[in-house]
């Protein structure tokens, strides 16, 4: 199974000093601009706006994770086409947001994300093996290993955010140091459940990080129509909560924003909202045809902002990236994913009994009768 956290985010070395002041928003300003202007550190051409508060090794590890995530994404699309997976929701373009967010957390923090958050979930400890098993259409894919506090991806839009409030609340009450991060899309911000979750988190000052990947669309509906607020981040004001808008294609900016929100949460300063501005480069799911609702050149524009290539260019500038290194990363990623696929596809068919036995701690009387009845029918 894939390895968990790589111990990122302790150093504050300048990777590529730009000479400018280090203006990482480590303490939240009351200035509302943060909710409107986008915070970013790495430009699409690989140049940086500011000192990066991570080490070179960390940067390379983040890049490697994004490469592996993209390999998983491509593999999943291919498998879905071969009928080996059920409908799949690609995250291409959102690797920085997801890998960066997970990297901002501690090992045992809670994560409650969505069907599109495979990279986030994986990076937070959910093994590829189980993610794939889940996508073959198997509930056992949701049985995350003990010690990994990641909920299986939520399929309903909106309903899972409040769970991260309850989880964090429980941790706060039991005096633990754990926090909870919930990831969701721009579309999810329209659900009433978003509002209730944000409000509860603020009222009880639960250590919850609300992480929105604004990827431009809810299926076919553009974010520009989804809401008339100036940004998603600005919605934090309605709850008296800090909000920040970051470049979601900049893995370090995301990491910094999440780490900072996590620090606030862990120190008892309550929840915050992060809007990671990104773009869903693929279709909504493998069943979707984006040509019906968006122009191809929009995608091209975003190709230039690709989250992987900007880090590649950065590392290239630094003399670290080589084709050989890249090939090695891809090879390793592909091997790990192939092994995961192999494992998932070797899991024996789920049985009728398992289906019924999964409902309660102990099967109830009606289920015992039905186990009997269905068991016979199955023979």
């Amino acid at each position: 199974m894939s390895s968990r956290k790589s111990g990122l985010g302790r150093g504050l070395d300048a990777l590529i000093p730009t000479g400018g002041p280090t203006s990482v928003p480590v303490t939240r300003q009351t200035d509302t601009d943060e909710r409107r202007v986008m915070f970013s550190l790495i430009n699409p051409d690989g140049s940086v706006r500011d000192r990066l508060p991570i080490t070179l090794d960390e940067m390379k590890a983040l890049y490697a994770d994004m490469v592996e995530a993209r390999a998983y994404d491509s593999k999943s699309i291919a498998m879905q086409r071969q009928g080996r997976l059920a409908t799949y929701a690609p995250f291409r373009g959102q690797e920085a947001a997801q890998v960066g967010a997970a990297a901002g957390l501690e090992n045992d923090d809670w994560v409650s994300g969505t069907y599109r958050d495979a990279a986030l979930n994986w990076r937070a400890g959910f093994p590829w093996e189980l993610l794939i098993l889940g996508r073959t259409g198997d509930e056992r894919g949701g049985e995350v290993p003990e010690g990994i506090n990641v909920l299986p991806p939520s399929i309903t839009v909106g309903g899972h955010m409040i769970h991260a409030v309850g989880l964090a609340w429980a941790e706060k009450l039991s005096g633990s140091n754990r926090i909870a991060l919930t990831s969701f899309g721009d579309g999810a911000t329209s659900e009433g459940d978003f509002h209730e979750a944000m409000n509860f988190a603020a009222v009880y000052q639960t250590p919850t990080v609300f992480f929105c990947q604004n990827n431009g669309f809810a299926i076919s509906y553009p974010t520009s129509e989804q809401t008339r607020s100036e940004s998603i981040a600005v919605k934090a004001d309605a709850y008296g909560m800090p909000g920040i808008r970051v470049d979601g294609n900049d893995v370090v900016a995301v990491l910094v924003a999440v780490r900072e929100a996590a620090v606030l949460a862990r120190s008892g300063s309550g929840p915050s909202l992060i809007e990671a501005v990104t773009y869903r480069m693929g279709p909504h799911t493998t069943a979707d045809d984006p040509a019906r609702y968006r122009e191809a050149d929009e995608g091209e524009e975003w190709e230039e902002k690709d989250p992987l290539s900007r880090v590649q260019k950065l590392l290239e500038r630094h003399g670290t990236w080589t084709e050989q290194w890249q090939a090695g990363l891809e090879e390793q990623a592909s091997q790990r994913i192939e092994r995961a696929v192999e494992w998932a596809e070797s899991v024996p068919e789920p049985t009728f009994e398992e289906m019924l036995n999964r409902m309660y701690a102990e099967p109830t009387a009606p289920l015992l009768e039905q186990l009997d009845e269905g068991g016979q029918a199955d023979e």
Binding site: A86, T136, G137, I155, G158, Y221, P350, M359, D378
Partner: protein, 353 residues
């Protein structure tokens, strides 16, 4: 532009005209599937009544995830067909406001499993506005939702919770299983002065085809449809399970058992006498649905049959249903969905006594 209240009469006239337009009368559109029949019905409704508007997630630009509203925004305009934010309670609640103001909104919920955030609006508001205003304000609106399993979909995408809607006084619950009924019932639902929850069987969308009349027609909300008359046993079902029910009936007919098949079509108001008439004749019945057994709508039908026809019953009314589990993911779907075999076996058991 939709028009309100007073233009009703004009609309009626226009519809009446459509009904009788000679060039159309009697001609049949060949080989229409259920999805196309629904798309055509919505097109007809939009074309014949200015008060009709459509709203829902992704129904405009893309024509909906099942393409049931395909082409309608283009044809009727973005002032008649609205894409909405992702907010089901908002969709239904806004539709209710529009209906009170005199429009005839048809809301789409993307999948039945996402109708629950709107359950409060439906049970506490949509279903009650007529009652709480003693007929002064009403909710002539339709809430469409694809339902049911069988396509290996993700969690929450295979729900069949018709019972929780059928239990709500003040709404009607309709579920077609043929293209003909789909068109006629949907147009009837749009015309209905009361709110209708309209369930669309996902796995039949493209699986059943037939010729349908190329005119404005409605199918009455209420009466069951005796799809196939028979004498030995009654199979009662609705919506998506009609496919397996038909196959079971064929299998039984093959061994010379005369099967009466009833497509309930309207779960609320329930046509009890239609069902009783059949069982009084056959003396035996099996009810089939894919929802879980406990508190499923099959209980209502079995209870009704024993209440009204106990002395005709030769055997207990059996229920062939989903198990008391959550609808499973793809790999276990076969364990869950009632099969033709299970229906046939239940019929044999019912016949054996």
């Amino acid at each position: 532009m939709p028009s309100c209240g007073i233009e009703r009469a004009a609309m009626r006239a226009q519809r009446a005209w459509l009904h009788t337009r000679p060039s159309r009368r009697g001609t049949q559109v060949p080989e229409v599937n259920l999805a196309q029949a629904l798309n055509g019905a919505l097109d007809t409704a939009l074309g014949s009544d200015d008060r009709v508007i459509l709203l829902g997630e992704d129904i405009g630009r893309t024509g909906g995830v099942f393409r049931i509203t395909e082409g309608l925004q283009e044809k009727h305009g973005s002032n008649r067909v609205f894409d909405t934010p992702v907010a089901e309670s908002g969709i239904v609640g806004a539709a209710l406001g529009m209906a009170i103001a005199g429009l005839r909104p048809v809301a789409e919920i993307q999948f039945m499993g996402f109708s629950y955030p709107a359950y409060d609006q439906i049970i506490n508001h949509v279903a009650r506005i007529r009652n709480r205003t003693n007929h002064r304000f009403t909710a002539p609106m339709v809430i469409r939702m694809p339902y049911g399993g069988g396509i290996g979909a993700a969690e929450h995408h295979s729900e069949s919770t018709e019972a929780i809607y059928a239990h709500v006084p003040g709404i009607k619950v309709v579920v077609p299983s043929t293209p003909n009924d789909a068109r006629g019932l949907l147009l009837a639902a749009v015309e209905d002065p009361d709110p209708v929850v309209f369930l669309e069987p996902i796995r039949l969308y493209r699986a059943v085809k037939e010729d349908i009349p190329d005119i404005y027609y409605t199918v009455d909300i209420g009466p069951v449809r005796v799809e196939r008359p028979g004498d030995d046993i009654t199979l009662v079902s609705w919506g998506a399970m009609m496919r397996e029910t038909r196959a079971a009936a064929n299998a039984l007919e093959d061994v010379d058992i005369s099967v009466e098949v009833i497509d309930v079509r309207t779960l609320s108001p329930l046509d009890r006498s239609g069902i009783l008439a059949s069982v009084e004749k056959t003396g035996r019945a099996v009810v089939i649905h894919e929802a879980p057994l406990t508190a499923g709508f099959g209980g209502e039908i079995a209870a009704t049959i024993q209440e009204g026809a106990l002395y005709s019953l030769q055997a207990p009314v059996r229920r062939v249903t989903g198990w008391d589990t959550i609808f499973p993911l793809k790999r276990s779907e076969g364990h869950y969905l009632p099969t033709v075999d299970r229906i046939v076996s239940a019929a044999y058991e019912t016949l054996e006594v």
